[in-house]
Amino acid sequence: MAGAAGPGTGPGAAGGDGDDSLYPIAVLIDELRNEDVQLRLNSIKKLSTIALALGVERTRTELLPFLTDTIYDEDEVLLALAEQLGNFTGLVGGPDFAHCLLPPLESLATVEETVVRDKAVESLRQISQEHTPIALEAHFVPLVKRLASGDWFTSRTSACGLFSVCYPRASNAVKAEIRQHFRSLCSDDTPMVRRAAASKLGEFAKVLELDSVKSEIVPLFTNLASDEQDSVRLLAVEACVSIAQLLSQEDLEALVMPTLRQAAEDKSWRVRYMVADKFSELQKAVGPKITLNDLIPAFQNLLKDCEAEVRAAAAHKVKELCENLPPEGRETIIMNQILPFIKELVSDTNQHVKSALASVIMGLSTILGKENTIEHLLPLFLAQLKDECPEVRLNIISNLDCVNEVIGIRQLSQSLLPAIVELAEDAKWRVRLAIIEYMPLLAGQLGVQFFDEKLNSLCMAWLVDHVYAIREAATNNLMKLVKKFGTEWAQNTIVPKVLVMASDPNYLHRMTTLFCINALSEACGQEITTKQMLPIVLKMAGDQVANVRFNVAKSLQKIGPILDTDALQEEVKPVLQKLGQDEDVDVKYFAQEALSAVAQRLRKLDSPAKDGEEPSAPGADKNHFLRPGGPGEDTGKFVPLMSRHTESERLGWFLRRQ
């Protein structure tokens, strides 16, 4: 583009026509220093455009020096800059010049903001691959050394992430130096650096020769795992996973296991928590034999740890642990060595522990099979269904499908029902919301008869809940149920009850009828919509509350696509026209919106052959477009009031002591 205007309109050209293709670039460059962060950010994000216009030479000699010294900026600008520079090699003249990118990234790797530093390191790692082996030793390795021996710990932490990318490609002499630098960072004075080194230990070990792993990495690992700061020790657990994968069983037993055993019994609960949290990875890394000899006993201890956080983390891993055991003998191990401890946890004093267990315990049934499940697990499920803490019951209910496959849900239904009813009436609306969301699943598993007998009334009760979010969820729930059980069921059990609410004295309940109709009409189909729902909607057009009236208009627009021409022409249109003359502005507005949608629909029905491609797309699109924003369905004028209500409950939920 620059070329086209270039030669002809050079400096001496008459009329002084500048190169107008330069103007946008000039703006971008100037905006690198704009006061508005957003503009600066935009410019940085288009840095490649600027560099392209400047050419490789000027990018190297002018742009990069400027960027190197511009590290005063906001974090988001620096983050974008660090990211851009990772893909800049082509713009500075290819791999031969990749080292020109090191200075700006080096300064970015020393800023205090972790995200920026991490991004700079990521880009440096990317660029290291583009260096030739010679350039790597001439430019990249010195940079790593500089960072590793920097005065500030930000630079030393950044160095930790760079060793593993330059090590494999360095000469033997340099390799020794790199290992030396890594070693000294592992015993740095500041815990920040030791943590960074510990977290990169596994990664570094992977690129080292096996001998060096044994002679150098293992001692470092042992040291870090017994660091005076528990924040360092807990990271060594993670490194353990990577190192274990590199060693043979004998070496593992001799070099790593003593440290791991020690970590599982560490004085600090945070370290034990980490062991519990990484248990599945550890299990896979050490293999079945050591798992049986060492990890299972360690796991038992973690399950009865004195700190609830640790027990909860271990409880979370119960299912994965059992799944990953070797198939032969698995059942015996679980039955004899794991299950007794799980039984204890079911009556733990801490609700988070019980809740963690409840979220995975059902998964054991597939591993243990039908008989064991009925004999041993079922009593636990039943006990948890009666737990005082709603989260525990909820977690059991949300995983019912696992048990259903093994023993069928009927075994549980006796205890299930009281649990569901209690959750459905819980004082916390979020608990009620959570159980509503499992209703379609439960309905599918329990069958239509059971549902009608026991659960249907609950679903209807939620429609008149005093929290809007619950009413909204209840409406969606009905739609999903109809999809599951079919229109006939809907016609007999749901629709009549919904329609009765249309004459409720509370206008919020009357509106719920409309919301239900919006949700159900499509699933119920044209006949039910036209014959049963439409008359009610039309009748409600005369409601005395404006909110109800404009929701009538919106409902009519919503169900319009399902109705036939006659109904639209004869019934819907006159009512909308009347609403269009309403005294309330909002009613008028929504009526007119609906009218135009209906008119469009009618036009299309008149000439159906033309665009069979998109049957109701324009109508539906517009419909969607018209609905005033917000995540949920709006309740019209009273939105602020409703949301304040839900807000205050939400605050109570969050302010709970962690």
């Binding site: 205090e112 500030w152 005076e228």
Partner: protein, 428 residues
Amino acid sequence: MSNSGVSLADIISTVEFNYSGDLLATGDKGGRVVIFQREQENKSRPHSRGEYNVYSTFQSHEPEFDYLKSLEIEEKINKIRWLPQQNAAHFLLSTNDKTIKLWKISERDKRAEGYNLKDEDGRLRDPFRITALRVPKLKPMDLMVEASPRRIFANAHTYHINSISVNSDHETYLSADDLRINLWHLEITDRSFNIVDIKPVNMEELTEVITAAEFHPHQCNVFVYSSSKGTVRLCDMRSSALCDRHSKFFEEPEDPSSRSFFSEIISSISDVKFSHSGRYMMTRDYLSVKVWDLNMESRPVETHQVHEYLRSKLCSLYENDCIFDKFECCWSGSDSAIMTGSYNNFFRMFDRNTRRDVTLEASRENSKPRASLKPRKVCTGGKRKKDEISVDSLDFNKKILHTAWHPAENIIAVAATNNLYIFQDKVN
């Protein structure tokens, strides 16, 4: 207040050296933070070494109003704590009653010059006459010190924050209010963990409040908090996630003979500080300062009387509310001496090895630049000697609550109402 001429906003409310001692930060009731920097050796001004000059001043907190509780939130800076230096910039935490802020103080000495669309005088260029692109160039400029807010840690304290303390792991810190202690990650502002909660279910059963809290200087899992009942609890975060149960409890048995109506009030601990070595801690109550060995919970290893002559005056000190003053205390860099404040602009220093103590005065009249401070004496009954001051003529409005000691050298900073005094050991 009878401090006529002193604006309330100017009263210094906290003083703190950074880890190297080259910077000294003060906070005041007006929500401002002033940072002083120590001058480096300079040949042309041989005496300037050691002088602290203003480096940066910024407004850290503004007055606010909590509409939910109809409460005014003062802008007064309750505490400042420096972070260990991590790059060329300096960072500190400052807090008022409710909100903690992380500030970055950085220097800038270069400025970019040259625009494409403007010429040097700022006149716009004709956009159609741009024939070449100009990349801005960096030119040196006068040093500029910027303070920018990096993080705001808010909405975690129902009661007034009295302490903040940075952990030796360099990534967490604690904040304590009257009833709770929260643990924060320095990079996460939207959540903190409550580690201590002494709020009784029924607030009528409330018998004590947390008065101060501090992390151990080296052991990242240990912190202490002091209470209004004169006790200190040491907690180990390794043993459990919630530290409601302490692992050590420091309390000196009360002497029944000295019991009075004021016993409980004057035994309340106003400050607790670990020694740099981490072996000892020091607590300040109304009349004394005590040094405890962490290995002995039953009694302090040293007790120093700060102003014992006030014991007979407690009644009037109660009436003018002075008895509730919160005096802070600090260790010398080598832990061999301690310092704490008193009234009448007096402050006290105790040498732990020689068991000698001295009373000094921070006032404009009595301290000329580069002149030694004269020890002061308060007459404690009997005949008043020359140079002594009688208890009755002490000015209780001139109180020294906040002092700080340079981490390596014998340089001290003393806040006397709206004045900051910096004293230095005499060189040669």
